[in-house]
């Protein structure tokens, strides 16, 4: 199956669909923020249109039908016949979600999602009587050309050409259309045939086409892959501009297309943007190019490059193309730079190899150090440069895996829409820092916890519109999702402007569930953190959204599995903020190298808050087997790392011992006794899961400079699985 070229093309079509859906979401969000300009509307239209076109080529009829009806409505918006307001936008969002479902249904061969028909009908109801008869043959038209999607032809520059069509007023001018169509080399290279396009054009009505051969060089000078020909066509004035442009839909970025009224259009007929676009044409009307040959309605049958050469080479296209070329560039600023699609496996291989390089470099450094060479020797300086280079390569390779969080945030937009509809609240999602880049794996594994937290924010965080109004807040609640880089980590925050955590209720609940002793005296922060306890749920009633038994404890453990931390802050009446801090990558980690019972171990630096040497005053015996240490007024449980890992028996005295004070995200602290602290360094993470399996208290392994494997500890897991755990609850909270 993998060799099936069609499957490959199809796969890339779906990748493209994802991109289109993303830009669709973007544009809708833009519109939601009050930006109704024609460019934005056009992006929406184009995205839907391109999906339809591609889907047609693969015979995905359900998707085509859906996209077509969506497109029809969008076309009404584009032409200004349909006003956009808040409600219709909501519907557009909703339909976009369904479109995404349709795409994934088509990709996975699933049945059509439920409710799409209802959604479409609702959407079409917006148009009222203005619904134009759907153009059925329209769809079949796409089939032969839709294939070109795979050849790198995108709709990137449509906006630069498509805008003039927006103004309906212009089409009332019935002067004949004059069309100049100049294919570029790329048009031929991508397998398009001008003859086909022109034939389609002729189907529109009474069309006259002339071929312009002025650019054709002498036969000897003819470079066959080059494009020399252009065509001038005159079309009846009653044709709709968008219909004409539709013919060239799939080639528009590989050709130069000029469409003007024979008599100059009156300025008021164009909106501002189209005026700017048309200006060059006014200066250089297509007629200024002297045609040397006239081909009535039919382009040459043979490949145009092979036709007999004419004189006057190269001069003709010059005045036409340059001004138009300038326009797309000016507008193309929003377009991303050139990108390459690479198989993830290859990148992972590269990441692994760079990991090897780092280890090798460390081994080399160690053996050079052992050789006792002077510091200023050539080997030493060379090694230093090598070290820096390695670090740079490592950083760059990690960057490849990094992806913006934007698609993730967009998914959350949908969650908000669905969740708010389910509980009848008005919610707006604001996103900040969408361009922030995070490791791909982190993004993938963040989706579930984030979904859960967003749902929580809608369901529990925000009040109902009536209560909000009574509290003097706008009816519409706002959830802000932000991402930013902060000191080598990524911080993602989910903030709502709801009522904040009802601490009294939380505490009562915790007491009634036996999670906290009734007499406990907890600070605000401690109460907030109770939300993360397993088996805690404040919702009195099980709503459509929550109460399904998945709590914040699951969210916290999945964040922790990513090496992240989660914190909560809340202000009554103002709202709640969840803050997730994540490492940039899962492949490298800053760790403290320690020694316990002759074994070298690595503790993630992010888990350590401080290190200390114990004095006899610090250590207090809690039970016969357990100790706590006294750190600035707090009691922290003591764990002997050597004993916990089974390397040796517990020591009789820990006086003078070195402890690492580690903190978990709930603020719970623990002290780990180690024998020695060796150094602090960056280590490459090697999974143990695949080769051996999970070991309690061990997160992964790494390879040290001497080629030996060292285990990377997971202090939180270690403490949880610790043998001598006899702490009382109040001590845990005292941290």
């Amino acid at each position: 199956m993998s060799t099936d070229p069609m499957a490959e093309i199809k796969a890339s079509f779906f990748v493209e669909c994802d991109e289109l859906l993303e830009s669709l979401q973007d544009a809708l969000t833009d519109m939601d923020e009050g930006n109704y300009d024609s460019e934005t509307i056009n992006v929406v239209f184009r995205a839907v249109h391109s999906i339809k076109g591609g889907a047609g080529a693969f015979g995905l009829d359900a998707l085509v039908a859906f996209a077509h009806r969506y497109e029809t409505v969008m076309d009404e918006v584009r032409s200004g016949r349909l006003e956009i307001d808040h409600d219709s936008l909501k519907l557009f969002f909703h339909t976009a979600d369904f479109l995404a479902d349709q795409v994934s249904a088509a990709r996975d061969g699933l049945p059509e999602p439920d409710g799409s028909e209802a959604c479409l009908q609702e959407l079409e109801a917006l148009m009222g009587d203005a619904l134009p008869a759907p153009v059925e043959e329209d769809v079949s038209d796409f089939q032969p050309m839709g294939l070109s999607l795979d050849l790198g032809i995108t709709d990137a520059e449509f906006g630069d050409f498509g805008l003039p069509s927006l103004d309906d007023g212009a089409s009332e001018n019935d002067a004949a259309w004059s069309l100049t169509f100049t294919p570029s080399d790329a048009l031929y290279a991508s397998g398009n045939d001008p003859a086909h396009l022109l034939r389609t054009l002729r189907e529109l009505g009474d069309v006259t086409v002339r071929c312009d051969l002025t650019a054709l060089p002498e036969f000897d000078a003819l470079d066959t892959p080059q494009s020399y020909l252009s065509w001038h066509a005159t079309l009846p004035g009653e044709l709709d501009e968008s219909d004409i442009r539709e013919v060239f839909d799939f080639v528009e970025d590989v050709c130069t297309l000029e469409l003007t009224r024979e008599t100059q259009t009156t300025p008021e007929a164009d909106d501002n943007l189209s005026l700017a676009d048309l200006a060059p044409q006014v200066e250089a009307p297509p007629n200024s190019v002297a045609p040397t040959d006239i081909v009535p309605t039919e382009p040459p049958e043979s490949e145009p490059n092979n036709t007999a050469p004419a004189d006057n080479p190269a001069a003709a296209p010059a005045p036409v193309t340059p001004p138009l070329k300038g326009a797309p560039q000016a507008n193309a600023t929003a377009e991303p730079g050139a990108t390459v699609r690479v198989d993830l496996e290859r990148i992972d291989r590269l990441v692994n190899l760079v990991g090897e390089l780092v280890i090798n470099q460390a081994m080399l450094a160690q053996s050079v150090a052992e050789a006792g060479l002077p510091q200023n020797s050539k080997v030493m300086t060379g090694l230093e440069a090598f070290m820096m280079l390695t670090r740079d390569i490592q950083d760059s390779v990690m960057m490849i895996r990094a992806q913006p969080v934007k698609p993730l945030f967009q998914r959350m937009g949908r969650i908000v829409r669905e969740a708010s509809a389910a509980v009848a609240k008005e919610v707006r999602l604001r996103t900040e820092g969408e361009a922030t880049e995070v490791d791909k794996t982190v993004i993938e594994r963040l989706a579930d916890p984030l979904t859960h937290m967003i749902r929580n924010a809608v369901d529990h965080g925000l009040e109902t519109p009536d209560i909000r109004e009574a509290a003097g807040k706008p009816r519409e609640g706002v959830i802000t999702l932000s991402a930013q880089h902060r000191s080598g980590r990524v911080v993602i925050e989910i903030t709502d402007d709801g009522a904040g955590i009802n601490r009294k209720k939380v505490l009562e609940k915790a007491i009634s569930k036996g999670l906290v002793p009734p007499e406990a005296n907890l600070s605000d922060g401690e109460i907030d953190n109770l939300l993360f306890l397993p088996g805690f749920s404040t919702a009195d009633q099980i709503s459509a959204l929550s109460g399904r038994g998945v709590g914040m404890d699951v969210v916290r453990s999945s964040i922790q599995a990513l090496g992240g931390r989660i914190a909560i802050t809340s202000e009554p009446g103002k709202g709640t903020r969840f803050s997730i801090s994540l490492p940039l990558t899962l492949a490298v980690l800053d760790g403290m190298v320690i020694n316990v019972a002759g074994e070298t171990l690595v503790v993630p630096l992010s888990a350590i808050i401080e290190t200390a040497t114990l004095t006899s005053d610090d250590i207090r015996s809690l039970g016969p087997q357990t100790n706590v240490i006294h750190v600035r007024g707090d009691f922290v449980p003591l764990y002997d790392l050597g004993a916990e890992l089974g390397y040796r028996a517990p020591k009789s005295s820990y006086e003078g011992g070195i402890v690492l004070l580690t903190a978990q995200d709930d603020g719970e602290r623990s002290a780990l006794v180690v024998d020695a602290i060796m150094e602090q360094r960056q280590v490459v993470i090697k999974g143990l899961q695949q080769s051996y399996g999970h070991i309690p208290g061990v997160a992964a392994a790494t390879i040290l400079g001497d080629g030996q494997i060292a285990l990377i500890l997971d202090p939180a897991d270690l403490v949880q699985n610790a043998s001598g755990r006899t702490r009382g609850f109040d001590i845990a909270l005292a941290g």
Binding site: N352, I359, E599, Y647, Y692, G693, H694, P696, I703, Q708
Partner: protein
């Protein structure tokens, strides 16, 4: 293992790598052997069964090492320069087997292999898939699947 054998050697022949554990001689199908390495100190794993010696660095991958002597109920291999680690692969799992020494590569007709007699008193015999006699010595053919620390993988 058997698949490999069928593909790479003729159906009637079997190629075995034989090695020594204490005074006894064992062997594994050579098609499942990836390489043989000299002894390196393994990093012990906490909470691991006693026959798991630890993990070693095999060119950048973490390789669990099984002390075959302990696995078969004998005294642990000493762990010095004369000992070797046989790196074997079973499906997706790769592991090292710590043995006293590698002795020979044997080419045998498949018919020379005979199933081990059913002796319930000896726990080690469940790790043996066949027996054969070469030059008067009895050689046990290991059942790799039962030797590797699969329990740990399943528990994960």
């Amino acid at each position: 293992m058997t698949e490999n054998t069928n593909k790479k050697t003729s159906a009637s022949e079997v190629e075995l790598l034989s090695f020594r554990l204490g005074e006894e001689e064992y062997s594994v199908d050579i098609m499942s052997v990836r390489e043989i390495r000299g002894w390196t100190r393994a990093t012990p794993l906490p909470h691991a069964p006693d026959f798991v010696r630890g993990v070693i660095n095999l060119r950048g991958t973490v390789l669990p090492v099984v002390d075959l002597s302990v696995r078969l109920g004998m005294a642990p291999v000493m762990g010095d320069a004369r000992n070797v680690i046989i790196v074997v692969q079973m499906g997706a799992q790769t592991a090292g087997l710590l043995v006293d020494a590698v002795s020979d590569i044997l080419n045998l007709p498949r018919t020379d292999l005979q199933p081990p007699p059913d002796l319930a008193a000896d726990s080690a015999h469940s790790y043996i898939s066949a027996l054969t006699i070469v030059e008067g010595r009895m050689i046990r053919v290991l059942d790799l699947a039962s030797v590797l620390p699969e329990d740990a993988v399943e528990a994960a």
